[in-house]
């Protein structure tokens, strides 16, 4: 049976029999990670977003085989592995209370991580633009934008010390 090897949140993992599965299926159903969510399966909502080699990816429209040999980061992999200290973006979402039901949260957080890696001090318009393809039905948009700003501030502070 063909074997898929990749790095997941810093650790090597191997999965067999995943040739026809999406990355989302592998993460949720084979590796039992809950961070990435199923929302539409069509790349429309962003609930399933993960990072592949640091770039955001909609794991519901990506065949798992495409991450062979690559590094995947999920929501579970953001906090410091030893101390459990939250990633500044996670902290920012607590500061800004960026969730109602929180089902969209994974996509918002992972996209924000990708955005801030590229643009550490985005304007409100840039944040809205970057998150434009992530749907939130609860209408938490303003809190989410505020959360990303908090995250940017925290990252800047951490960089200063």
């Amino acid at each position: 049976m063909e074997r898929l090897d990749f790095t997941l949140n810093g650790k090597a993992v191997a999965v067999t029999g995943a040739a026809r599965l999406t990355l989302l299926d592998v993460l949720r159903d084979r590796l039992e990670l809950n961070g990435a969510k199923y929302g539409c399966g069509l790349g429309q909502c962003g609930a399933c977003t993960v990072l592949v080699d640091g770039a955001p990816a909609r794991s519901c429209v990506m065949r798992a085989a495409r991450v062979q040999g690559r590094a995947v980061t999920t929501l579970e992999g953001l906090a410091a592995p030893d101390s459990g200290t939250l990633h500044p973006v996670q902290q920012g979402f607590i500061d800004g209370q960026g969730a109602q039901c929180g089902y969209c949260l994974n996509g918002m957080v992972m996209t924000a991580v990708a955005l801030l890696a590229r643009n550490p001090d985005p304007t409100e318009a840039e944040i809205r633009q970057a998150l434009r393809d992530n749907l939130c039905r609860c209408g938490t948009h303003l809190e989410i934008v505020a959360s990303v700003r908090h995250a940017a501030r925290r990252m800047a502070e951490a960089a200063d010390v």
Binding site: R20, L21, D29, N34, K37, Y38, C40, G41, L42, G43, Q44, C45, G46, A47, V52, D53, A55, P56, A57, R58, V61, M62, R63, T74, L75, E76, L78, L86, Q90, F93, I94, Q97, A99, Q100, C101, G102, Y103, C104, L105, N106, L115, R118, I127, R128, Q129, A130, L131, R132, D133, N134, L135, C136, R137, C138, G139, T140, H141, L142, E143, V145
Partner: protein, 1130 residues
């Protein structure tokens, strides 16, 4: 440290459903509090914890709230109408106060002090200098007390926790992926179910419901991996398998026959449809004498307002888990109403409700009756059948199609102003086709009758808040037309849309400022205060509308609306009141309405968690603005259309307005529900603002750009752009070109002599160099591409080729002696390759590119032959061709060859480099690039005068590789080389479909040869100015919204660089620039699954989401927007 002695303080009550413990404190000092309502994503858990922590004077972190478990929480009815804080929290508050009193009593005994002197703070009791924490105080004690409804509670003036902003208690776990939503529950031994729904999607009444199944062909999925069971009962069909993917694959493969349901009544015009349904009038308010009052008015208006069907649109499709447990089932659910679900499920499986337990886990945000309950019925039926836990996850399409829709509503208002200038008569009729959404499993199994029933829910906020001497308010109750139930704001939102629009219309008639007009008719001082303060704080610009402020093409306006959300059976209970002032900008050319700013004033009495209240206001504003401006469920003859966000777009960050809130502080008043109130005035406020900006009164939501454009155009009597003409079906023109494949069976008669069978040489006779060279030729020619059937063995043939004369199939290239090339001599093989004549003498279909292959040199030809003989032999008969008419091509073929076929080898051009000559050979011989990229004449021969000018191949487009067109795209040697190697020339093109397979096959070809091909191809390119790469502005409408919702996330992503985004901009898409739409249509329908060996990306298929007409509209839209320099497709 020794373990503390166990201890418990418990406050209970005996209720019809049994003894319920509301609150317990144990020896650790932790509190567990229970409430029968659930957290729908609104943070109610946090607010309840605040209430308990406040009364008990302990830190929020010591409180655990259990919500909605039928076995342990009270039945407090459904979590609807925003009444958790208003009603359901009350016993919890009392229980906490009582517990505090009991703790003080314990402490008084311990300290030997008067109880009145005991204070509590920080989870401890205090007396003078002594203090002791609740835990140690309780250790060793068992204290059980009945809930005392008279217990004194804290004075709100002393609140320290309630009224303060508090972070959500569930947020940290949600941020790390540690939180367990219903979707995340995994039980030992859990199996997975996938349901197959009948064709009457989204309908719940009519005698076909539960009686449409003809049969299930279990044999059709026999032996599929993972299959555990197929469960059929009435119209319920479900598959159970080991994994979710297996369950889905089996369900999709399962052959099920259904009777087709009768069509829906025509759903347009919707107002007529609603009014034509049988309904029962209910007169709710008949103050004064309405007919007389109306007759006395000096000016009257009669208006009709219409609200469409909406999707709740939870971001996570519903999920449920059931464990049969030998007849004492437990069901885990994201339900809004655990106790009602318990009753429904018990009925479904013939148990008494108390034999069945429902445990509530959080789901994706819930805004009313969605599929959360239905999926639990599915899971329970499946678990009962297999006696193991079963999880069912609905698909996005199942949720969209089947969820009970937010009901449409029709409102007719008649009223007028009396001689005094006051509102004098007001008649209001409302039709709300909905019920409570009976559980789908009960309907599908026939457990309950599918007779149409109505619920009397159209009466929320049906009486306007204004003083009117003569009123006649009637609610017409009617059963749903399609499955429809409550959604945020229930009927109060549409009713208020009508009331508050109509009041604005009357104010206009009266020539008054709309806010002043309202205030003149508001008697309740608290309500008037809210209206006044909201207008003041928001900066309401008073005056008579419409003010028609214009700046260029933009028109600006401001609107006001206000309502008290009244819920529960008429006359109902008031929740919070909310007032809106909103600003809009209207683009008078496109008709787009931008909601720029919303100010909400809200009076909710005591505020428990201001952050939570503000979040609720924001959510209500954003969601309801989206419902008002764009959302609408449409229907085909049978069922709702939308199966994903593509056809039902919702709000995005791009549309979110600036929102300001003003919470009126009334700490002395009871807390009122805030879950829906701010939604209720939304539609009217926006309609009023649009009127102020443009003078146009929109009375039918949604207020889409196309609707407003039409109204604006009618206003200036200008003609509208003609609707796009329907796409005509493409006809065959001449003989369509095929890719290159040996296709058998084109002819009835042998034309040439057969070459006798002869055992092919054994592979050991060939040198490894020969075989390696053969593999390269095989790769360069992509033989496997055409000669491998979908999910067939490699190179064993059987791939269907559509031709104008019928379908032919590629042949088996493996050395199987009976069905493949195992008994072909080299001579037979070479004749086929160079002359298109099969071993048995029959002609191969003429489009087989032997005109290219003839140029393969002898060495390569022999190597290819050798290589083919080393493939693993596969026995695979070539399917018989299905020709439309008997075709005798003998004379045609002879003439054709004479005219068009030049089997002479290529002679090297000494003026060109070695690489160029090598490249030309590869491109023209084995590569047979021209077979697709060169247009053909009417007889199907390549038109040499237009070599590589681009051609349609079936429904694919093979774009130009030569001339100025290729130059304009930016093709040069490095670009060709990158493309042929990786399938991707950055910024120019990305291979998909057939071409991606070819590039994958070229993986066998060495770099030097790829470079050589690129060198030759680049020499055919003529310099030209680059493609314009411009995007046109296309008037917004359903298709632009579809594009934004379904395509933009990958094709115009807000954050570039995504790993799943398209690699080439649509302005460069060759398919969009093709002469016919077929290629674009094909890719939208079928998606892209690119070879894994190449760094390419996939695209999901939309064939199951969008019907042909929508795909064709989308293709036309893409052409108009991304290739504006080209003509529209005809």
């Amino acid at each position: 440290m020794s373990e503390p002695l166990p201890g418990l303080l418990s406050i209970f009550d005996d209720r019809p459903e049994g003894r319920i413990s509301f609150l317990q404190i144990d020896e650790t000092g932790r509190v567990t509090a229970r409430n029968g309502h659930v957290d729908l994503g609104t943070g109610i858990e946090t607010a309840l914890a605040q209430i308990v922590a406040e009364e008990l004077d302990l830190p929020l972190s010591d409180v655990r709230i259990v919500l909605g478990d039928t076995a342990s929480t009270p039945n407090q009815g459904p979590t609807i109408a925003s009444e958790t804080i208003q009603v359901a929290a009350h016993p919890l508050r009392l229980a906490a106060a009582q517990a505090r009193q009991a703790l003080a009593g314990l402490a008084a005994r311990q300290f030997n002090a008067p109880a009145a002197e005991i204070t509590t703070e920080g989870g401890a009791v205090h007396w003078r200098d002594a203090s002791i924490h609740y835990g140690p105080l309780i250790a060793g004690t068992q204290l059980t007390m009945r809930l005392d409804l008279e217990v004194p509670v804290k004075d709100p003036a002393d609140y320290r926790i309630v009224g303060r902003p508090m972070g959500r208690v569930d947020l940290p776990a949600k941020l790390t992926g540690a939180f367990t939503y219903i979707h995340d529950l995994r039980l030992d031994g859990m199996l997975h179910g996938h349901v197959l729904r009948p064709p009457y999607a989204g309908r719940d009444s009519g005698d076909f419901v539960g009686r449409s199944l003809i049969g299930v062909d279990r044999a059709s999925v026999q032996g599929m991996p993972g299959l555990v069971d197929i469960v059929v009962e009435g119209d319920f069909v479900g598959v159970v398998a080991e994994t979710p993917q297996q369950a889905q694959a089996i369900a999709e493969a399962l052959r099920v026959d259904w009777r087709m349901p009768p069509p829906l009544p025509p759903m347009e015009p919707l107002a007529q449809t609603i009014k034509d349904q049988p309904s029962t009038p209910r007169l709710l308010d008949s103050t004064g004498d309405f007919p007389r009052g109306l007759a006395e008015c000096h000016s009257t208006l009669a208006r009709t307002y219409l609200w469409p069907f909406h999707e709740h649109g939870s971001i996570g499709p519903s999920c449920g888990v059931a464990d049969w447990q030998d007849g004492a089932p437990v069901v885990w659910s994201g339900t809004q109403n655990p106790h009602m679900l318990q009753g429904d499920l018990a009925l479904l499986v013939g148990l008494a409700p108390e034999q069945l337990e429902v445990r509530r886990l959080q789901a994706a945000g819930c805004y009313g009756r969605n599929c959360a309950d239905d999926v639990c019925g599915d899971a329970l039926l499946l678990s009962r059948a297999v006696r193991r836990p079963v999880r069912v996850q609905l698909t996005r399409a199942q949720e969209h199609l089947w969820e009970p829709k937010g009901a449409a509503q029709l409102m007719e208002v008649q009223g007028g102003i009396g001689l005094s200038g006051d509102l004098h008569a007001y008649g209001f009729d409302s039709w709300y086709p909905s019920n409570r959404g009976p559980n789908l499993a009960l309907l599908l199994t026939g457990r309950i009758s599918p007779e149409p029933h109505h619920a009397m829910m159209g009466d929320r906020t049906i009486v306007p808040p204004y003083r009117v001497p003569h009123k006649r308010i009637t609610c017409h109750d009617l059963a749903p037309i399609v499955r429809a139930a409550w959604m945020r704001g229930v009927s109060a939102l549409p009713n208020t849309f009508a009331h508050e629009s109509f009041i604005d219309e009357l104010a206009h008639e009266a020539g008054e400022d709309p806010v002043a007009f309202r205030l003149r008719h508001l008697d309740d001082p608290r309500q008037a205060d809210l209206v006044r303060r909201t207008a003041d704080e928001a900066g309401w610009q008073s005056g008579r509308g419409p003010r028609l402020r214009r700046q260029g093409r933009m028109a600006y306006g401001q609107g006001f609306a206000y309502a008290t959300y009244v819920h529960g059976a008429f006359p109902g209970t008031a929740a919070a009141s909310a007032a809106w002032v909103c600003d809009v900008a209207v683009d008078t050319e496109t008709g787009e309405v931008t909601l720029t700013r919303v100010f909400v004033g809200q009076d909710q009495g005591l505020v428990i968690n201001p952050d939570g209240v503000r979040a609720q206001i924001h959510g209500n504003v954003i969601q309801t603005a989206s419902r008002t401006l764009t959302e609408e469920v449409t229907f085909d003859a049978i069922a709702p259309v939308a199966k994903s966000w593509a056809s039902y777009p919702i709000q995005s960050f791009a549309q979110v307005p600036e929102i300001r809130t003003m919470l009126v502080e009334r700490p002395g008043d009871p807390a009122l529900g805030v879950g829906e109130s701010a939604a209720v005035p939304a539609a009217a406020a926006i309609a009023n603002a649009i009127f102020d900006a443009t003078g146009i009164r929109l009375r039918e939501a949604p207020f889409t750009p196309e609707k407003l454009r039409a109204a604006l155009a009618a206003n200036v009597a200008a003609a509208l752009p003609a609707p796009p003409r329907p796409v005509r079906k493409r006809r065959w023109r001449g003989i369509a070109a095929l890719g290159g494949a040996l296709t058998a069976g084109a002819l009835a008669l042998p034309l040439h002599s057969a070459i006798p069978l002869s055992r092919a040489p054994s592979p050991s006779q060939f040198t490894s160099e020969t075989l390696a060279r053969g593999a390269e030729v095989f790769g360069a020619a992509n033989c496997a591409g055409c000669h491998t059937a979908q999910s067939g063995a490699p190179s064993a043939g059987g791939r269907p080729m559509e031709t104008p004369f019928g379908t032919v199939y590629s042949t088996n290239l493996t050395p199987d002696p009976q069905t493949g090339l195992g008994q072909w001599s080299y001579a037979a093989f070479e004749r086929a390759m160079r002359h298109g004549i099969s071993r048995d003498g029959k002609n191969l279909y003429p489009a087989f590119p032997y005109t290219n292959f003839a140029r393969i040199d002898d060495g390569d030809m022999q190597a290819l032959y050798a290589y083919l003989q080393t493939l693993p032999p596969v026995r695979a008969e070539t399917p018989r061709a299905a020709m439309l008419t008997p075709v005798n091509l003998r004379p045609v073929n002879a003439v054709w060859n004479a005219m068009f076929h030049d089997p002479a080898p290529l002679t090297p051009d000494p003026a060109q480099s070695e690489a160029w000559n090598r490249g030309r050979y590869l491109v023209k011989a084995a590569g047979h690039c021209s077979a697709c990229h060169t247009p053909r004449n009417a007889l199907g021969a390549e038109d040499a005068s237009r070599a590589f000018a681009g051609a349609m191949v079936g429904t694919d487009w093979a774009p130009p590789l030569a001339g100025p067109e290729a130059g304009a795209r930016g093709w040069d040697q490095p670009a060709f080389a990158a493309y042929l190697r990786d399938g991707h020339a950055p910024g120019i093109a990305s291979a998909s479909g057939k071409m991606a397979e070819i590039v994958a096959s070229l993986g066998a070809v060495p770099d030097a040869d790829i470079q050589a091909m690129a060198t030759y191809l680049a020499s055919q390119v003529t310099d030209a100015p680059p493609l314009p790469r411009i995007e046109a502005e296309v008037p917004p409408g359903p298709t632009s919204r579809l594009f934004e919702a379904a395509c933009a996330s990958c094709h115009l992503p807000g954050l570039s660089g995504a790993e799943t985004a398209a690699q080439v901009p649509l302005t460069m898409s060759s398919a969009i620039r093709a002469p016919q739409p077929d290629a674009v249509i094909g890719v939208i329908r079928d998606g892209i699954e690119a070879p894994l060996s190449l760094p390419l990306r996939d695209m999901p298929a939309f064939g199951a989401e969008l019907d042909q007409a929508r795909i064709a509209e989308l293709a036309n839209y893409l052409r108009a927007r991304f290739a504006p320099d080209l003509e529209a497709w005809r």
